[in-house]
Symmetry: C2
Subunit: 399 residues, 2 copies
């Protein structure tokens, strides 16, 4: 009776809900400090104080209608100009405010991009493991998501040969997420160069345009001095989607941007379509006050060093216990190899120690689990006894 796809999604959603409820059940039973919940990507460290200062400054100095009223669907012109200037200064590009659309988070930006790009049957590639929502976003517009498995032995870098083989004349886009959720790895410039070469080769072969959609909510969460390449420098047909959810710890406020450089194929048509897509999908515009806030806080960030300390604490603790994982370089995720082939068995075992993790199957990559370390340092410390006990069980302890 109701939409069949959404009814199915709702039914499958019960797994996530169950995990959430399981967490609540355990917290009620044992106390919140005795439950080690690594399942959610919800920032633990608060926004910088400058966010609050900016809100007060805006509300005290601007006319209320200029703050809260409608603006052009793409966003306040002065905010878009600031974003373009910031990108230009930081990455050496030459964008203008016209190339920026303020969006309802990165998820809003991705949906707008795919709505503007895809015709039914178009294919969108992604390297697996990946954030499963991409599949929904692509299917929203009649597209087909084509996951290409990354290789464990390559540290979960995109498999360029596999990607080359998967591209067809119907391939319209590749979604890349760097730093990566769920693996926490960063794709370096060399890998991006390789990917760009494959996409260019195939564009030429098929006479098509293949857009690289770069989903970058974790851009600033890069550690050990690793650089996150700015993709429009490597590949002409790049569209960047950004969100301040992580860098300013504002995930509930839904504020991000799309950058569409004027050198992408079909710029005029695509730019116009992206603009109306936001309206047609009911986003209308990005939340007004927080457009003005991010304009004022564009050089600010939450305490990123605190995430780095968490990362070391978790990584050092787990590897000392004999666990294996992908090298965690960015975002706030550690991608842990399950000590047993079926990682769901491992996740069930960790629950006995009040440790909540997400099985790799949820990212189309079984055998691994995601540990989200956007938690208090105490959560990480507190979990180590449980991880140690399981290391013993699974015979991981180093001799």
């Amino acid at each position: 009776m109701i939409n069949e796809v959404m009814a199915q999604v709702a039914a499958n959603n019960s797994a996530i809900r169950e995990m959430f409820e399981e967490g609540n059940r355990l917290r009620a039973l044992f106390g919140p400090d005795k439950v080690f919940d690594f399942s959610l990507g919800n920032p633990y460290f608060p926004p910088p104080e400058s966010v609050k200062t900016a809100v007060f400054e805006i509300l005290n100095n601007m006319e209320p209608n200029a703050v809260h009223g409608y603006m052009a669907n793409d966003g306040f012109p002065e905010v878009r100009r600031t974003v373009a200037e910031y990108i230009n200064e930081t990455f050496g590009d030459t964008l203008t405010g016209d190339d920026i659309i303020m969006t309802v988070g990165a998820a809003g930006g991705l949906n707008i991009t795919l709505k503007a790009l895809l015709n039914p049957g178009d294919e969108v590639l992604v390297s697996a493991p990946f954030f499963l929502e991409y599949g929904h976003y692509v299917r929203n517009y009649g597209g087909v998501l084509v996951p290409v498995p990354a290789k464990e032995e390559d540290g979960f870098m995109p498999d360029l040969e596999g990607i080359r083989n998967a591209i067809t004349p119907k391939t319209k886009a590749f979604i890349i997420n760097n730093p990566n959720n769920p693996t926490g790895v960063i794709y370096p410039a060399s890998v991006i160069q390789g990917l760009a070469a494959v996409l260019e080769e195939k564009q030429k072969e098929f006479g098509t345009s293949i857009y690289l959609i770069s989903d970058e909510p974790y851009r600033e969460l890069a550690f050990d001095g690793e650089e996150v390449p700015y993709l429009p420098k490597f590949y002409r047909n790049t569209i960047v989607g950004y969100s301040w959810s992580k860098s300013l710890s504002l995930p509930g406020e839904r504020i991000g941007y799309l950058a569409i450089p004027p050198r992408v194929d079909n710029y005029e048509a695509l730019r116009g379509a992206a603009s109306v897509s936001g309206r047609v999908l009911g986003f209308v515009n990005a939340p007004a006050l927080f457009q003005l806030v991010v304009q004022r806080c564009i050089r600010e960030s939450c305490d990123i060093a605190a995430y780095d300390r968490n990362r070391r604490l978790l990584y050092d603790g787990l590897t000392e216990l004999g666990y294996s994982c992908a090298k965690p370089q960015g975002a706030f995720y550690l991608w842990l190899k399950s000590p047993v082939a079926d990682e769901k068995e491992f996740v069930a075992e960790t629950k006995k120690y009040n440790i909540l993790l997400v099985p790799g199957t949820s990212f189309m990559c079984p055998g691994y689990v995601r540990v989200a370390y956007c938690v208090s340092p105490e959560t990480i410390q507190g979990s180590m006894d449980g991880f140690a006990a399981m290391a013993k069980t699974y015979g991981l302890m180093k001799k």
Copy 2:
């Protein structure tokens, strides 16, 4: 190459853009106080002071992560509870917070509802004239919009006989907008009763569920003591979509709700599908801070009496000059009969007097124009010379 539908929408969008640019051109040429722009539905009267007070109170007293962090996709439980209680007190319903989804404006709520409801080919009825975005929203999900013309002689009330004839076994929903954009009329209880009877008759005949989707951003803008019926009292399968864009003058903040009473057909499935639809479409959740703001300001409103004064000023002025219009009872629109058959000709004429109106064709109802009186009283007063001159031209002046 890019999505064909969106490319077409973008091309058609040029008409709106042209009008906007024409306004800017005229303002630059003659000065902003010499241009009488009645084309936009952007609230003129500011939010109540309590909005600012609420923001300050929230930011000064709550933990930043509790304000700006992720919450369940449906919204903060305490906000949803407050909304349910407010609805119950005001309209005598028995909703709980579980029946409320906080949404990215009313447009977000409508898209979520249609995503959750429609299967490809499903039909959605609407009384014309109507807000043309409904057509986009329905087509987003493979639905077919079926407009049923209202009759001028019935004061633009829905044509119940026409609706009865238009309903088929594929009819999944009827979108109703009360008070109405663009006509400014209010559908009274008697009309709603008639509509409910038709929908119930057809549900029975076809063994289907037909949902009445009530789009209510103008609910509080009701004048002359007119009451806006609460539709779930009249028809069981009603879903209400609301927005604080107008009542609190916050259109840029994108904050609204969906109310799905538990007595609607397929409640469990529909409720679950609506919840995941918001996530899948990339809304994720309604902006966090403004959820907390509307919770605190749910009994507040902008200066509605000021809109009423505008309405009288405009209505009295135009009717004295001999113009005809639908009886303006609600929203902030006056639906003016064009003095010539082709209302686009009239709109071109009004431009000579720096008066900007929207032709009825933009609402699928030629022969009329929409005058949005969410403007300063001075704009209305200043426009009267132009309207008087045209009344002379068209021979409207009363003897």
